[in-house]
């Protein structure tokens, strides 16, 4: 009982707590609007995961960079790059789809290496470097595919949309796979070093860590996840579009910050999961809420712009809430510190 209480207290102080609370609020909103039966129904969950796996994966990738003290806002358009590569290679060169996927991941790794080089080696501030990179990638995308086109064989996107054993969406499995990959990486040297480099590069250097190499590796790891996210996006749309989902770059950043990730060495992957979950579930709830309104109010018509407006306003509230709780966390930290210090003084007198 006591240890349970302790671990709850520790969780309450952890950076992921705000994200967790917001996530729960979002779930409760969904339950109220849709009812537990509908919400947890297999088809509903399947659609939810299938539609949102790309943004969730991108948020996980972004989180790795935030922990390392950098970011990548070109991450959204990188998904489109993977998308055009995996569509065009089979269509133009007759390559088999799985091989095209490997090339898609390689493309994401290559472009991430460029971003990593700009940030880690040339020391260009990451926000500028990756903003510029966005336009470079857009150019590449349009060179590969000039207009939206292409298709994916039915067996592939069909498999992506399936729900295994009646409750396990394949899209969710992909996310779990990436999370497992992170669980492993977190326990390696690299996983420890990104926290150190993100929080304080000088101290990391003093401990014998090479910050340049670490940031570079973080970008490559992000590239791998981005590649997987790009493939998920392709399977979800079953088509190619060179200029889409650019907004995922900033959305994923917002999700990370809502989840409680700080800039540089503060926070964990669960922050990203909760943040992305909040974002996705709010959109979902608002969508169904408007449907519900249309059902009961005859003649109620509204454009999807209003839905975006409402859901993004709620996201903004979520962002505000993180600053409030961050303040509260700081307060508890301060109190703890002064308590410890007072105890220290008592020692000194003895």
């Amino acid at each position: 009982m006591n240890s349970l209480k302790n671990s709850f207290m520790r969780f309450k102080r952890s950076p992921a707590f705000t994200g967790f609370v917001l996530f729960m609020i979002a779930i409760i909103m969904n339950l109220i609007i849709r009812g537990p039966g509908n919400f947890f129904g297999a088809s509903s969950l399947g659609t939810l995961f299938a539609k949102n796996a790309p943004i969730i994966l991108v948020t996980l990738a972004q989180a790795v960079l935030l922990i390392t003290g950098t970011l990548d806002i070109s991450i959204g358009i990188q998904l489109a790059l993977v998308n055009v590569v995996v569509i065009m290679l089979p269509q133009e060169l007759g390559m088999s789809v799985p091989v095209a996927w490997i090339f898609g991941i390689l493309a994401a790794l290559a472009i991430s290496a460029v971003g990593g080089f700009l940030v880690a080696v040339l020391r260009v501030p990451s926000i500028l470097a990756t903003f510029a990179l966005t336009y470079v990638i857009k150019g590449i995308n349009v060179l590969i595919m000039n207009v939206p086109q292409g298709s994916v064989p039915k067996e592939y996107y069909g498999a992506y949309d399936t729900v295994l054993f009646g409750f396990l969406p394949v899209a969710a499995l992909i996310i779990v796979g990436v999370l497992l990959m992170w669980m492993f990486v977190k326990r390696t040297k690299f996983g420890k070093h990104i926290y150190a480099v993100g929080a304080n590069p000088r101290n990391a250097f003093a401990a014998g860590i090479n910050p340049t190499k670490t940031i570079m590796k973080a970008f490559l790891f992000k590239g791998l996840i981005t590649g997987i996210a790009g493939i998920s996006l392709t399977l979800m749309l079953a088509a190619g579009n060179p200029l889409q989902v650019e907004g995922y770059g900033l959305r994923s950043l917002a999700a990370c910050i809502i989840g409680g990730l700080g800039f540089g060495g503060w926070g964990s992957m669960s922050c990203a999961v909760f943040g992305a979950g909040f974002l996705v579930l709010i959109q979902n709830a608002v969508y169904y809420f408007f449907n519900f309104l249309q059902d009961i109010l005859t003649g109620f018509q509204i454009t999807s712009y209003w839905q975006n407006f409402i859901s993004d306003a709620i996201v903004l509230l979520g962002l505000l809430m993180t600053t409030v709780t961050a303040k509260a966390q700081k307060e508890t930290l301060k109190q703890g510190l002064s308590r410890q210090l007072k105890r220290g003084e008592k020692f000194a007198k003895q």
Binding site: R10, F184, R187, T188, K189, G191, K192, H193, Y195, A196, A199, N200, N203, A204, F205, A206, A207, G208, I209, G262, G264, G265, W266, L333, G336, L337, Q340, L341, G344, F347, A348, Q350
Partner: protein, 500 residues
């Protein structure tokens, strides 16, 4: 074991090290001493690989080695516990301690069980009680220092460098640390430690190396040196045999400008200070004894936890420095880039900034007015500038500082607070700044100036308060101001003398 010779290091035009040397024998404990800015920390950082010297030779075990990074230093068998802590505050204790030397387990994962064992063992030896899964930033500074030491010991080095690690430790923690250090010495480890506490030097060290302005002055066995010798080598002057008795503050006829009673916050414990109209008060002390906090609290940048401040007859409780400035205070920081200069704005805007701060926010300011105001300040205070519209960074460090000083003096504040204003300023500009302060004081301005340079304080101040560990360890009036007394009080000798 370790031999450094001819080490020189320049930071810009400042010579941090000049032909410094250090010889440490195997299995001995060497104390490295020197006053502020004498180059001890730079020398330690050279060995740790954080500073690459311009010239000089490093030998370990009789072989010449190049230490270009902390990895090289580690390979040479050197581990360092830093004064300014190399821990990552947002990581847990255990992750911090094994950072950079994680024990590897299967599949390239870090062997957690082994790390826990290693960390717990060393923490037990040092008597550190803390949750190894706690974030370092939540721990008190003293525990952090102990962890810093533990981390260095964990590297199983041949040579252990301790750079002022005892500064924030409590008495019982220091005893545990010393016990460990003695044990390590018996195991054949070589230890170099830097400290400002003289008691520790005699208790622990076998030999002493003393540095002064970047040079090594003497290497000698501890038993052959006395306290007075050490002060002599550190300052270059024979110490005064009479101890600096706490001279009573004479009550003056003059008007009391600021009266601080029992102020306390963080490091500061019950500091009381009075300053009268037209007086220059000096604050002396080694680095990190609470001087910056004191000055910023008076200004309203920090909130005192206890005590009272009476300024111009009114009890004050400022919520921000803006209140202090409006009430006729001025603040000049030695940390120009962070706290006083607007680097990319023009010289005239920089000078006018102080005036702008006390005016109505919507007041229309004519270009002519800014120009006239700043031109006058430049002429009055002899600042060497190219064009008034050049950015402030076009000036030399000394002229930048004169610019900041003139910004405030031109407003004729009642109380001017200066925190180490001549840091990194050349001799000539320093002299001019002192001149400016003295003239203003004659006109009735009260000046409180903190400085790491004792000579400077002696020249300019009417009274000197010496800070030691957040308390005042001595108040010296003009008559009994000698360098030796200040240095003695800086090391807390007024209160600790009986022990030595």
């Amino acid at each position: 074991m370790i031999a450094l010779s001819g080490i020189s290091k320049n930071f810009g035009t400042v010579k941090a090290l000049c032909n410094a040397r250090l010889n440490v024998q195997e299995g001995e404990i060497m104390a490295l001493l020197g006053s502020n800015g004498s180059g001890k920390s730079t020398l330690i950082k050279t060995l740790a690989g954080l500073v690459n010297p311009n010239a000089g030779k490093i030998e370990v075990d009789g072989k010449e080695v190049e230490i270009k990074s902390s990895v090289d230093s580690h390979h040479a068998g050197i581990a360092t516990a830093f004064q300014d802590l190399s821990l990552v505050p947002t990581m847990t204790v255990i992750d911090n301690m094994v950072l950079g030397m994680e024990p590897m387990g299967r599949f390239g994962m870090v062997d957690r069980a082994k790390s826990v064992r290693m960390v717990n063992e060393i923490l037990d030896r040092l008597g550190v009680v803390c949750d190894i899964n706690a974030y370092v930033q939540t721990l008190p500074t003293s525990t952090q220092s102990m962890i810093e030491v533990a981390k260095a010991v964990l590297q199983k080095p041949k040579v252990l460098l301790l750079d002022e690690v005892t500064a924030s430790l409590h008495h019982d923690e220091i005893q545990l640390l010393f016990k460990l250090v003695s044990e390590l010495k018996e195991q054949g480890l070589t230890i170099v430690f830097v400290t400002h506490r003289m008691g520790e030097v005699f208790q622990l060290s076998d030999r002493i190396t003393i540095m002064r302005s970047g040079e090594t002055v003497i290497e000698e066995e501890t038993s052959k040196l006395t306290m007075n010798d050490i002060v002599y080598y550190m300052t270059g002057k024979k110490p005064d045999t009479q101890q600096g008795k706490k001279s009573a503050v004479e009550k003056r006829e003059k008007e009391l400008v600021i009266d601080v009673q029992d102020m306390s916050l963080r490091k500061i414990k019950n500091i009381s200070m009075q300053a009268y109209k037209g007086e220059i008060i000096g604050i002396a002390g080694l680095q990190g004894q609470g001087q910056p906090e004191f000055i910023r609290t008076v200004l309203g940048l920090l909130k005192p936890e206890g005590g009272s401040i009476v300024y111009k007859g009114k009890k004050i409780n400022y919520s921000s420095p803006a209140n202090g400035i409006k009430d006729g205070m001025g603040f000049i920081s030695g940390d120009r880039n962070k706290e006083s200069i607007f680097q990319h704005r023009s010289i005239q805007e920089n000078i006018y900034a102080g005036k702008a701060a006390i005016q109505n926010i919507f007041k229309y300011v004519k270009t002519k007015e800014i120009k006239g105001f700043s031109q006058k300040a430049i002429d009055d205070y002899n600042i060497v500038v190219g064009d008034l519209k050049d950015p402030a960074t076009s000036l030399s460090g000394g002229n930048q500082q004169k610019l900041v000083v003139s910004r405030w003096i031109a407003l004729a504040p009642d109380l001017l607070l200066l925190d180490d204003p001549t840091k990194g300023v050349d001799v000539h500009s320093r002299f001019e700044i002192q001149e400016m302060l003295r003239k203003s004081a004659e006109k009735g301005m009260t000046v409180i100036i903190s400085s790491s340079e004792n000579e400077e304080l002696m020249e300019i101040a009417d009274r000197i308060y010496v800070f030691y560990e957040g308390k005042i360890s001595g108040v010296l009036s003009k008559e009994d101001m000698t360098l030796e007394r200040i240095v003695a009080a800086q090391m807390g000798m007024t209160s600790e003398r009986s022990e030595v």
